[in-house]
Symmetry: C2
Subunit: 214 residues, 2 copies
Amino acid sequence: MMNQKVKSGKKSPGRARPTSESRQRIIDAAVKLFARHGYAGTGMRELAAEAGVNLAMINYFFGSKKGLLKELLDEFFAGYLEVTRKQLEGDRDALEKLDGFIQAAVAYFAGRRDHLVVVITELPHDDPEVIDHKAAWGRQMMRLLGKEICTPLSEQRDWPVTPLLLGPLLTSMMASRFLFAPISDRLKDGAPDTDTGDYARTLSRIIREGLMPR
Amino acid sequence: MMNQKVKSGKKSPGRARPTSESRQRIIDAAVKLFARHGYAGTGMRELAAEAGVNLAMINYFFGSKKGLLKELLDEFFAGYLEVTRKQLEGDRDALEKLDGFIQAAVAYFAGRRDHLVVVITELPHDDPEVIDHKAAWGRQMMRLLGKEICTPLSEQRDWPVTPLLLGPLLTSMMASRFLFAPISDRLKDGAPDTDTGDYARTLSRIIREGLMPR
DNA sequence: AATCCACTTAAACAATCGTTTGATCAAAGC
DNA sequence: GCTTTGATCAAACGATTGTTTAAGTGGATT
């Protein structure tokens, strides 16, 4: 048993209501543990201990364990959607937009690897309380991709690509590196990670030109 | 409470030891429930009820809940590896091999959607008892991809593609459709699924030529 | 007939699960 | 000074968790 008393020494003494740091510590611990053991595989006591917080604080801040999960998902989705909007809206060429999107999204994923793992691993599960959040997010994502990428691209091509194909496909491609990380780390012996920017550029090129020479 | 008595009427009367059908029923129920609620999110009583089998039978056949999971993973991995080997080994052109692999793997995935979901969602978790299984499988996969695809392809190209990039990337691309299925089904209103063969051909084309016209 | 064997069962095991309660503390508002 | 309010705590709640046990089934073997 570690001492789970919170050292409040860092709390600035003059501030009125610093909106308790415990809340953020719970989120950080949840992202870390959910990514490693899964949502259902993580106990609330284990979570509270990792966050250095009393068990009851989780329900106090988030209502329930599932409320905490929904907060994590919404947080990631909102950021992902914002990144996407910033890259896709505007009047650049569709291909340039796609490049910018891949670059920005991979950077976003790389900065939140654990967050990403939680989202992906919880995606296929059909919890009725959570699945609407995902669907609502997916709808906005598909609309953006359809209007800014698929439609303009279809005019210069001979075969159509629907957003319902492209959305999951792009997301999966960009996420694959981080999803397989625990296994990849075991296979490559000590070799350092390729730069994340390189990874994004490689994906961009494959998306544009494919794997073939020329 | 449903009646979980097994109707043994189908058991062929003359056979010596039909190797109890209960074992397979447990596997089928596990694949279904693990895919919908996750491994940790599925209770053994719920599982036994779905399989129409006594609770203790799970531990009797598989030793433990985790033993059941390992069996599911191994089963899928073995099939995936066999499909891969059949398509990649031989002396055809590397690009033809890649096409055949995508076609066969997508068909394999489509025939075992729930199985695939379980594997993917459990992939990133770091359970020390399970992660070695995944790593051993990944190693064989990488070796095949490296020798049959990456190496011959690198000779006709100006930039290299390592199996550690290609393996996770291809698997993620082929799996994306099935991973996002619960969400996709909510977004497309009643529109019937595109044919799985079409999906494989689309992926093949994107991999070869990219998204660009020409 | 007796033994063996794979399979099946109900019942119980200790442990852990997510959640709730009521008390306490410090700072803010009146 | 008194009350309010947000935060934190230890303790307990009933329910459910994965696993084990000991008994019992019926068919095949000896």
